[in-house]
Amino acid sequence: MNNFNDNLLLRAENIKTYFPIYKGFFIKKKTGYTRAVDGVSLSIRSGETIGLVGESGCGKSTFARSILRLSPITSGKVWFQGVNLCDMHDNEIRKIRRYFQIVFQDPYSSLNPRMTVGSIIAEPLKEHSIVKRSELQGEVFRLLDIVGLSSQMLNKFPHEFSGGQRQRIAIARALALRPKLLVADEPVSALDVSIQAQILNLISTLQKQMGLSLLFISHNLAVVRHICSKVAVMYAGKVVEYGKTSDIFDHPQHPYTRTLIKSIPVPDPGYKNYKFNNVEK
């Protein structure tokens, strides 16, 4: 399986993540499985932005965690630059983790409340010895600057920041490792609408500047349309449609995709009426 072309960064093959359901009081028996992710395949090329959309609970986040090996995979293979992540031992995977980073949905729970912003950003740098000890401070300043935070915030704790600022910290922390793939797991859904745009623009600018591949998970189709070049639509653990953003939005094939697109709220009331009338017909 090493006939990877240079462009292909990550390929997930037929990923299945099942969670066992236990029943019984004293003696627990497996009575079945929740098929959170049921045979999803996806390829991500360098510099590409892929959107993963679908309703809550359709397995988007679990799929992302599975390919990053944060959730145990039931079956399937994840090829990252030609190596299979699923075969790797804990120690090997630890070293390769720096190449794929994640920004979580809730910036309130993704930052350790007992660590200062400085140490949150510096820790991955130290752990993977990305920069020399003497350059550590400068690198942290640089990262803070990139995400638009001032260096005076270095010694503050996460609770002193707003949601948007926290998400910026989370992004700085992820970028500290100079990853090749960034997974953004609904990075703006916990934020105010006015802040959402700022964070989205930040992510998409940084992605272009650093040439990152981005897997953008969202249930907000308007956002996905705004920043992604390709979209995969998930429903009940399966990818039901995959293609270029323009194709998906202009000529949706699957009925679920059509429903999803129709559900996008439109700021213009006149257009909204038009849309609703069309739906009824």
Partner: protein
């Protein structure tokens, strides 16, 4: 911070007043009189009246209490009815032994409990199951029963440890031999007290740690490729916080347990002094111990709050 501590210390005085008032009146509600226990039953009534007058027992209860409390504010706890020694000296004599016993039991109990709890959450599976069963077992066993079993098994049958006391008789005080002998005496009572602490902390810490393992910042710690040791450290730092409060709250329990354990092991501490004082209706000693224990509890709670403020950046100073 200094202002905060002063405020807390000042507010402790009315608290101690209330605690001692309640215990003072409850003790005096109990039937009997110290003079009846002290004196030959064939004593002449006029002698009895004289003795009662000397001890201040003929005044009304309220007056007795107010006089006593006024003296306490100047650290004068009165004299023992039994041997006429100042109560303050009696307690100060016994306090180090109690603090030694409690301090070692709490530190052993908490450190083992925390470690075990985090490991149990980390490894899960069989290890976790066995720890859970063990901790339920440990929580349901009363400390006095455990103490008796420990004495029966390890001291009487196996003869590994001495049965009771602070140290063996006839060993010169400042020597290595005395020290090791003393440690041997210390082990069983410390274990009897700390066993319960280990089990309750273990349960608490395990649940705490499991919760924290699911937090996204720990997920992220895994995602950024930290070693297991670092991840455990991350969990540890967050999980220890609530335990500081628990530490302050557990002191009254330990202090109460010490009364029983000290009596069982004949440990010359404040607890045994208190139990003896209760049996002989030695009011000044009982009240002295009540005040000392409440001061200990109040101080430990204050210490827990201060530590919380120092360690947890989220508690904002007012």
């Amino acid at each position: 911070m200094v202002w905060y501590i002063t405020k807390r210390l000042l507010s402790a005085i009315p608290l101690i007043f209330i605690i001692s008032a309640v215990s003072f009146f409850i003790i005096h509600l109990a039937p009997g009189d110290p003079s009846a226990l002290l004196i030959d039953p064939k004593v002449r009534p006029e002698d009895l009246a004289r003795i009662r007058n000397n001890l201040g027992l003929n005044q009304s209860l309220y007056v007795q209490f107010l006089i006593w409390f006024k003296n306490v504010l100047f650290l004068n706890f009165g004299r023992s009815f039994v041997d006429s020694r100042p109560v303050f000296d009696l307690i100060m004599e016994r306090l180090p032994a109690t603090l030694e016993l409690m301090g070692s039991a709490i530190s052993i109990g908490f450190s083992l409990g925390i470690l075990w709890g985090v490991l149990s959450a980390f490894f899960k599976g069989k290890f976790d199951l066995i720890s859970s069963i063990f901790s339920f077992f440990g929580l349901s066993i009363p400390s006095f029963f455990l103490a008796l079993i420990l004495i029966r098994v390890f001291a009487v049958s196996l003869k590994w440890f001495p049965v009771l006391g602070f140290s063996s008789v006839g060993i010169p005080y400042p020597s290595l031999q005395f020290f090791s002998n003393h440690i041997m005496h210390l082990l069983l009572p410390v274990f009897a007290i700390s066993f319960g602490i280990i089990c309750s902390v273990l349960r608490y810490q395990r649940n705490m740690a499991i919760e924290i393992f699911h937090e996204e910042y720990i997920q992220y710690a895994i995602a950024k490729g930290l070693s297991k040791k670092r991840i455990l450290y991350h969990v540890f730092r967050v999980a220890v916080m609530p335990l500081i409060t628990l530490l302050g709250l557990s002191l009254p329990d330990v202090l109460g347990g010490a009364f029983i354990i000290e009596t069982i092991f004949a440990w010359p501490g404040m607890g045994r002094l208190g139990v003896n004082a209760i049996f002989s209706r030695d009011y000044p000693v009982i009240m002295g111990i009540v005040v000392f224990s409440s001061v200990l509890v109040i101080l430990s709670n204050l210490l827990a709050d201060i530590l919380n403020r120092l360690f947890d950046p989220r508690i904002i100073e007012d």
